[in-house]
Amino acid sequence: MHFQKEVKLLKRLMIGNQAIARGAYEAGVTVATAYPGTPSTEIVDNFSKYADVYAEWSPNEKVALEVGFGASLGGARTLVAMKHVGVNVAADPLYTLSYTGVNGGLVLVSADDPGMHSSQNEQDNRGYGKFAKLLVIEPSDSQEALDFTREAFNLSEQFDTPVMLRVTTRLCHSQSLVQEGEKPERALKEYKKNEAKYVMLPGFARLRHIEVEKRMNSLREYVENSPLNRIEWGDRTKGIITSGVSYQYVREIMPEVSVLKLGTVNPLPENLIREFAAQVERLYVIEELEPVIEDQLKAWGIEVTGKSILPRTGEYSPELLEEVLLNVNPPAGYQLEESIPGRPPLLCPGCPHRGVFHVLKRKRLTVTGDIGCYTLGALKPLGAMDSTLCMGASIGTALGMEKARGSEMARKTVAVIGDSTFVHSGITPLIDAVYNQGNTTVMILDNGTTAMTGHQDHPATGKTIKKSETNRLDLEALVKAIGISRVRKVDPLKIGDLEKALNEELAYEGPSVILAVRPCALIDKSVKTPMFIDEDKCKSCKICIKLGCTGVYWVEEEKKARINPDLCQGCGLCAEVCKFDAVVEGGAR
């Protein structure tokens, strides 16, 4: 018993992302690249803390994968991590990387977001496995995240393929116990020039495609006996095929059923599945989002129930499966007869974006938006955003609206994009606006960080992933070099300056850029005094309330606005908008 206790103590709680980083480290990975994106961010962030490894925040996911390809070619085991939509950005190199194969093992982590906790769509990236012809593996808890990641590098080298480790938010951000292993010494693989394998000219690529199909056949054989798949026999009236975190939900509510737990989700082990299917009375596939496994089973002529009873949308949960599979309704529990107001996320007190959206709303402009904290500017009471599609889309969207509706449209349209997002994929559409003679007005909301994902550095912050000083991308010089002659900087909390800049740049014929520069309120370390509302001067107009700041609130009984000194960051925006000078500096905290 005493011994058991000691063994237990060696296990540590880790979120899935931390376990993936550990698995990569134990596999001897020496290069890791990523662009931050929820729920993937903590993977390379954690990996960068190991000694003697190289890790970087890449400008975007395409670059991350290309650097990863180079590192693999150079003989290093390489980890590349991104959120599901990031794989779309990296899809171009990914599809051909499948043809070249690898030198040092290469694992691409795709962190999907069923339920869209922090994403613009909930695409199922297992589909990439089928189309790009990759081995796709899927762990179901933190221990498996570590073990599968480590094994993925062996498989990548054994089958000469990039491996996709597909995870979901619920795995990335759930902690469970992990037994760490040793990190063996591992030498770089030798680099040998091999143009027939790595130069994808049509003549070479035709031959490589044949190799890819051979590799898929080898992988089909491998998955039949892979230790990543297992059958847990139990009651055979129901048989369930599942993978990832859904496996945990199944085990939670149906400890007695037979389960085929798949660790390899592409290719699928046909014989193993047929063997399992033949021995159970009724077969179910339980998979979040798309019927990837189910469709393949049906194509093989195996009778199975899945999406006919379970949703294709959103995240699964034990209670959902209980309701659908066991006809158990959630217990009534305690209820209140009270309607509970919603609590949507919102911009932080002191956030520099708030000034921008206040002005954009007041001027009733059409605003094409982008991906970041500032997307929250779309929500009430600011509500100043017309579109948000994907990283970098704001500028192209504004140009497109102008081309559809004429240059008059450009005079009342602004594209807003964050600094990190601009570097990610805003540069090329800005070149388009110059090249194709748009009159687009672009506001780069430069808060000096990648805020939404937890304040990662990027090329324009001048700091690396390890927070060491590096060359800083000068956004103003970059924009000028593209051919934007009108570039100006404003403080987004100075409403008058902002409005003047907008008026002039919207009127200007030609593309222009306004850099709205102020550090994110969460990283700005300067100490500021909270504001204070002089109740005698407050005329109850509520303009400060309409800023949607938690630092200001309305007292209905007195018909006055008040400042909450614990939350107020002293940014002074409410004082800027107050027409009666009722908001003053110097509230006591």
Partner: protein, 203 residues
């Protein structure tokens, strides 16, 4: 060691420190030899939104998330959030409410009112309800930010977690300079149980 899994739902507003509270409780459970799973929320919801983290421990835990009507304890950092997640509490479960009131956007902007006397209404339906001014207690310990640890102290005691395990977990999880204040907050929360007249101990 009980066979049944213990489920703790921790709810609050982004920025209130729900993540640290869940990590301390989880670490203390690990130290006692339990299997543990914790589900956290990162990303957009953290920006002042409604956040929930979930701690489950027992002999063997599968799902990282708690079913409706299955939480043994709800630790609410804010009153409205207590009400929002009420249906997750099992019958006979314990509801701990910090009396903080943080207006959500629809209230701030005057669209709807913040429901009145929420803690009383909850106590009216949930027999095991404890309300306390954890923020005020934490402030006396040195910082209002340690309200999360006050709640951990109280809830940890009702779940029979050793005070030492909780203190050890705090030492391993908070920065050096914040340890003393947090240990004070932990003790205050722990001792708060002596002031409670109803029996809230967990079997």
């Amino acid at each position: 060691m009980a066979d049944k899994t213990t489920n703790i739902l921790i709810v609050g507003v982004g920025g209130q420190g729900t993540l640290l509270a869940s990590r301390v409780l989880a670490q203390a459970a690990v130290d006692r030899g339990y299997d543990v799973k914790v589900s956290e929320i990162h990303g957009m919801a953290q920006r002042g939104g409604s956040v929930v983290s979930q701690v489950r421990y027992g002999t063997r835990v599968f799902s990282p998330i708690i079913k409706k009507g299955d939480a043994d304890v709800i630790m609410a950092f804010e009153k409205l959030e207590a009400a929002r997640y009420l249906s997750y509490l099992r019958l006979g479960g314990l509801m701990v409410i910090n009396t903080d009131k943080i207006d959500p956007l629809p209230v701030m902007s005057g669209e709807v009112d913040y429901p009145e006397r929420l803690e009383e209404k909850i106590a009216g339906v949930v027999p095991k309800t404890v309300t306390l001014d954890a923020t005020g207690i934490a402030e006396k310990c040195g910082t209002s930010k340690a309200a999360n640890i006050v709640l951990v102290g109280l809830v940890g005691r009702t779940l029979n977690m050793p005070l030492d395990s909780l203190a050890e977990a705090i030492r391993s999880l908070v920065p050096e300079k914040a340890i003393e204040t947090n240990i004070k907050a932990l003790n205050e929360g722990w001792n708060y149980m002596d002031k409670i007249s109803i029996n809230i101990g967990m079997e």
